[in-house]
């Protein structure tokens, strides 16, 4: 573990990505714990649309709410969605991909055809369809993103699982008479941890992007809740008057995604040097 950390910190994009992600996680936790400079819903009527100042580092919005506080809450919100959706997708995808690869035949065919159907939709459109059915909201975004991402995880797990299945050490295990559960956990899963870690990190970047996109369209987190995408869409008509409303949330989204992308790249170099295929 310490060896792994040394290598990660020795990797320049790993270092930068790691610091960004860690900072964001701290901010998200602080926001969840209520440690924001102001109450994000408190409206300072007199201070509406004020630029950055000592009192409000990132200025205030059209209701006079503190942008920094709302930004922190937004990051917390985005991370909540990103982590839970990717968690669910990874869990389902791993389960389906692993069993499809191992049991093969009918089950594999069934699972993979289903995934073909899901992957026949452009990702955002599938999420939109999901939201159209269930209705907008934070929880829906989580499920929608998980729903879109699960097929990708299924494919990502099935490929390496199939090649692991054909490896000699799995054959060796079968000659010993090892149980299926032993082979699946110790021989397949243990070797899938590395590619999965990489994939999860990259998926987090993508999920962050999708979440902010959905809330930008008004289909994610609903007002008066705060999310980065929502803050951006609020700024659209005010951008000439109050560019800080555009710049800070925009940079916050970008930097967060950048952090996960950098970290994912570094992890891939360290953990899984052979696979180069990104989830794009």
């Amino acid at each position: 573990m310490s060896r792994f950390l040394t290598r990660l910190l020795g990797h320049s994009s790993g270092r930068i990505g790691g610091v960004i992600v860690l900072a964001y996680i701290l901010i998200a936790l602080a926001a969840q714990a209520g440690l924001t400079p102001y109450d994000p819903l408190q409206q300072f009527r007199i201070d509406r649309l004020q630029g950055p100042s000592m009192a409000h580092w990132m200025g205030t919005d059209m209701f006079g709410r503190d942008v920094l506080s709302r930004l922190m809450i937004g990051i917390g919100q985005s991370f909540l969605v990103a982590f839970s959706s990717v968690g669910i997708a990874a869990l389902i995808g791993t389960l389906l991909g692993l069993t499809a690869a191992w049991f093969g035949h009918l089950w594999d065919g069934l699972v993979m055809r289903l995934m073909d159907v899901l992957l026949a939709f452009p990702a955002i459109l599938l999420a939109l369809l999901f939201i159209a059915v269930v209705g907008p909201g934070t929880f829906t975004s989580i499920l929608a993103i998980a729903f879109v991402y699960a097929p990708i995880f299924t494919r990502v797990v099935r490929g390496p699982a199939l090649s692991l299945k054909a490896r000699d050490f799995v054959d060796a295990a079968r000659t010993f008479g090892s149980s299926t559960s032993y082979i699946l956990t110790r021989h397949l899963m243990l070797n899938l941890v590395a590619p999965l870690t990489v994939q999860v990190t990259l998926a987090l970047a993508w999920s962050l992007l999708t979440e902010s996109g959905l809330s930008f369209l008004g289909l994610g987190t609903q007002p008066p809740g705060s999310s980065l995408g929502l803050m951006l869409s609020d700024s659209v008509n005010l951008m000439e008057m109050a560019p800080w409303l555009l710049v800070f949330p925009g940079l916050a989204i970008m930097l967060g995604i950048l952090g996960f992308n950098l970290l994912g790249d570094a992890l891939r170099d360290i953990l899984d040097p052979r696979s180069r295929r990104a989830v794009a």
């Binding site: 000699d168 050490f169 295990a173 079968r174 010993f176 008479g177």
Partner: protein, 588 residues
Amino acid sequence: MSRLLSVRGLTVGFGRGDTAKTVVHGIDFDLSPGETLAIVGESGSGKSVTALSINRLIDDGGGRILGGRMEFTTARGEVVDLVSATDRRMEKIRGSEIGMIFQEPMTSLNPVMTIGRQIEETFRLQQGLGHAAARLEALNALERVRIADAERRLGYYPHQLSGGMLQRVMIAMALAANPRLLIADEPTTALDVSVQAQIMALLAELRRETGTGMIFITHDMGLVAGIADRVMVMNGGRVVEQGTLDDIFDRPQHPYTRHLLQAVPHFSHGRHVRRDVSPGGRALVRPALKVEGLTVRFPATTGLLRRPAGAIHAVEGVGFELMPGETLAIVGESGSGKSTTARALLGLVKASRGSFSLHAGDEIPRRKPIQMVFQNPYASLNPRLDVESLLAEPVLAGGVRPDGDTRKRMMSLLERVGLPSDSLRRYPHEFSGGQRQRLCIARALMVDPSVLVLDEAVSALDVSVQARVLDLLIDLQNDLKLAYLFVSHDMAVVERIAHRIAVLYAGQIVEIGRADAVLSNPRHDYTRRLIAAVPTTDRRRDVFRLQTEAVPSLLRPRGYEPPEAVWAVCGEDHQVLVEQRAMMGEAR
């Protein structure tokens, strides 16, 4: 006589700064026109780096020539120092003056270009020929390497040809512009032994025809004997000895050369077989493994709807007996069904027919009487498990919780196979290839088997490591009365370890018997050809017979049943399959 190539103080390294590492330390050698120099060494000896340095391809591979001179005399009589020549100059010299062929023909050709275009390229680059002229030359080049139906083959892509064919294409390409020097870097290592013999014969013939000088890189002393005029032995990036073929073979000076010649397995037509089990006692003991009529068929399908088209008869009616303490070697080339036989015995593939019975012996109750050791020690150990977990797996699989006794057994087995006692907490990547194979052997022995199936178990190892692992296997066999089923393509290795040999061809045993009898007096046509193809250190400058016989297809129509096997006895414990014309005729 003027030199073709004169190398002085060649030093090659990789990397820069802190990670810089020198891998070839100031070597000297000379090559006369038309002469063949063999560079012999094991992996890490620097032999391939030396080869790539001569035409400076090492620059592309991240290496750097750090010092020395390489004076090369071109066809026009100019002397060029290859170390200091410009890149442009080198691009003119490569292909036209120095040709090169590589170890892996399957990956050395561009998969998205037809072989015709790839051969043409040499002519276009080096002689500035136009499309039509280059095509004509390419056709000639293919015919020169004895490829039948050359016209049509020009339009083939690499994946449509076999490894042997591709290596011929590589040779055609390398010799296209009549270079004065041909560098061949382990050109036959990836090929079957009979294909190897064909390629070697071709190289020898072409060398005679063209008068090309050759540098032949190999780890196999047997191949050296067949083709080299002079030999240079490398170890650890240094030349340990060089001289004429006869000097090196008959009067080796350096201990490492002697080690390569003596300790390493070389084929000697059955003169060095084991004689430690008396062949007379066979009838008195119950066999540890008895196999009868083992048959493995895979369904074959064709077309869009995957209609069944028949079956691949991978293994057909294989039967033998294996006594405790005895080694039966199963030899054959790729596609002969030898590995499938092994895998069927372990239940990794389903036998379509046939039976086998294991007899565990009387003294100790055996838990899992048959175990297997795989070819590639890098692939057969899960990289994420430590040695203790690896060794515990067979025990766990048998439903036993590992306890103090298990640990004690681990320690004693590790010691027995010659691994350090602190190995338990370590991971596979911390061990060398030979050590990993020892680990695999220890793992197989954890459950105290009576039969060990060794599937090409030493084939992936360096020759001197091979020798030590073979010695270990023999010791273990004698101590534990283990029965070995030793699957291999390597006759030299088989000669070292086998008591009996079964020759497998197209899924059937064609000859079986005592090792010395089979090796010194092969009776089946195929066995004879196989043995004739094996390079040996006593066949010096011997030109291999050029033969082009394809392995028969194993695909049979639905419902096909092979005729009953008829055996001819040709000596005590030596049987040979009587040729069945009908079947062989159909196969061709």
